[in-house]
Symmetry: C2
Subunit: 345 residues, 2 copies
């Protein structure tokens, strides 16, 4: 049988005082004699008293819990973000309740509902690929619920967004490929409705423009799923069908880039001599494959940490959400490895 936790009432009864006294004694409120405080604390320790956070939540209409909504846990980038969130939340005394949407809108909706029921103090969200309409978030914002979006951020009024500089990251990656002498650069793009995909594509285009290279729309291919299989198939079909063979691939993510690498190898092309490849996200495996994959590192941990700091600051009213800059952009870092270097520095 489950042994119930000792409560303030138990302590009060045992000591023949009122619960108010016990409560105040435990918190070192003035107006309680040292003698009483001593006795209360002693008994509390002996009974292994633990305040009931649920009762506290009810009283204060605060739960010291934040809700995290992400597309998928099994995703290196998101798992690093979670790690950052967890660290900050823990150190500031908050709990994290987590749900993954599996990229489904209805899961997103219902997760929000149960979190609201659970009186969470704020949301941290990266929305699903299915989400094209943001009314469910706007409504929450209007009602004054603190929300901080990260990575996948919506363009709606009053939203507070933490993201990486996808544009710059892509721009850097493609510029790097160009300076390495690659010029017919394929972009394995992401889903068009995600702002991050748009930004990365924009960075790709601008880098080409910047070096005076004409943009060939045939070289921009959407990879909606984002697996290495998909990248492999798409790359193969490009290699088979394009008259002008491409000589480099910039992947919207690392999985697609690896797919491209495998397809190139299978086609007898050497990486990086014949084909240069750069990915995005810097998954752990980038440095473990042969040749090692250059990639744009996103500061996942940092993003989670920053987003959480910001959310908690808003919750604790340390900052006014109206006054906070509506977007915080974190720097990416291009990690140049073997897959994209054919000139000696």
């Amino acid at each position: 049988m489950k042994i119930e936790q000792a409560t303030i009432k138990d302590i009060a009864r045992e000591l023949n005082v009122s619960s108010s006294t016990v409560s105040r004694a435990l918190k070192d409120y003035p107006g309680i004699s040292d003698e009483t405080k001593r006795k209360v604390k002693e008994l509390a320790k002996k009974l292994n008293y633990r305040p009931n956070a649920i009762a506290l939540s009810l009283r204060k209409s605060r739960s010291f819990t934040i809700g995290v909504i992400i597309p998928e846990v099994v995703h290196f980038f998101f798992s690093t973000v979670i790690s950052g969130i967890e660290e900050v939340a823990y150190s500031r005394g908050y709990n994290v309740i987590l749900t993954q949407t599996n990229e489904k809108l209805d899961r997103e909706q219902s997760s929000i509902d149960t979190m609201l029921s659970n009186q969470i103090d704020g949301f941290l969200v990266s929305y699903s690929k299915e989400t094209k309409d943001f009314n469910h978030f706007s409504r929450l914002l209007d009602q004054g619920y603190p929300i901080v979006f990260f990575d996948r951020v919506p363009e709606i009024p009053n939203a507070i967004n933490v993201m990486v500089d996808d544009y710059q990251g892509a721009f850097d990656a493609v510029s790097h490929l160009i300076t390495q002498g690659y010029s017919r650069i394929v972009h394995l793009a992401g889903p068009k409705n995600l702002k991050i995909s748009q930004e990365r594509e924009r960075g790709y285009r601008d880098a080409l423009k910047n070096y005076g290279i004409a943009i060939n729309e045939e070289l921009i291919v959407e990879c909606p799923i984002g697996t290495s299989d998909e990248g492999q198939k798409i790359t193969k079909s490009l290699l088979d069908n394009l008259k002008q063979k491409p000589d480099a691939f910039f992947g919207n993510n690392d999985m697609a880039a690896v797919g491209a690498m495998l397809a190139c190898k299978a086609a007898g092309l050497r990486v990086p001599e014949d084909v240069g490849i750069v990915g995005f996200s810097n998954w752990q495996f980038c440095s473990m494959i042969e040749p090692s994959l250059s990639s744009v590192a996103q500061p996942g941990f940092n993003m989670g940490a920053k987003a959480t700091e910001m959310l908690l600051d808003i919750i604790e009213k340390k900052v006014n959400p109206e006054e906070v800059k509506d977007a915080l952009t974190l720097e990416t870092e291009l990690l140049v490895r073997k897959s994209s270097v054919r000139l000696r520095g």
Copy 2:
């Protein structure tokens, strides 16, 4: 300003009935007139009423929340486990609150404390590498708290454990290497205090014995950290120092195995012709590297799902913890890829 949620009282006041009536009407209790039910439900919908789960928790001493304690989120295997946990918990109407210990015992302790404060209904835990003593868990079990351990499971009375058959997985992997003609097989072992490490080592030893190969203790090396860097360094020093060069590596995990692969390549050895390599866990990158890495697949999602099913069954008293088998072992699957095949099938 945050707009407060409508409560039962709000509905009651508006309709000039008591809160009891509203409560019963909402739940279709008998003894409430259809007319009243209609009006209550209508207004509830209009006010966007959402039951306050906190109040409910307080009343019922149940929170419909389970606590998950894991070493690290950023770990492919654990993230798949989380995914499985999340799925089952969600579908059965439970919330998941998550903490990572970062392999620290004190984090483990304090996570348990805050979870207890939050009246969670049960624990799902995979303990930290620092944990050598299980009193904090035994105490909880004695008090009747439902706990299900997964992957890293303790050997304490009454514990309910879900694990993979590490022994068999290791046995299969090493047997496979032997039948491929490798015989001087190194085992890059895990931390000695983890049962999973012990089991994998036992599988390694028994496989060798089974084929009549003498066990050379020099070939069993502990890799306490478990990164690819560590694996690489250790492998290099083995290659440099052993008189009898090893011809295969069985890694306690994939990272160590990849490290071994890189070190071998760096030493001019060919994989799999000169050296065979098998890892453990089947991380995503296994199929993306060259040569692709053979590995023992652990059913992470399934493990998370099973453990959660079991925990919720206990919580909901669908099963009696005394009667449940104290251990559930899931099958592993050896995925043979290029890194360990030098004989044609």
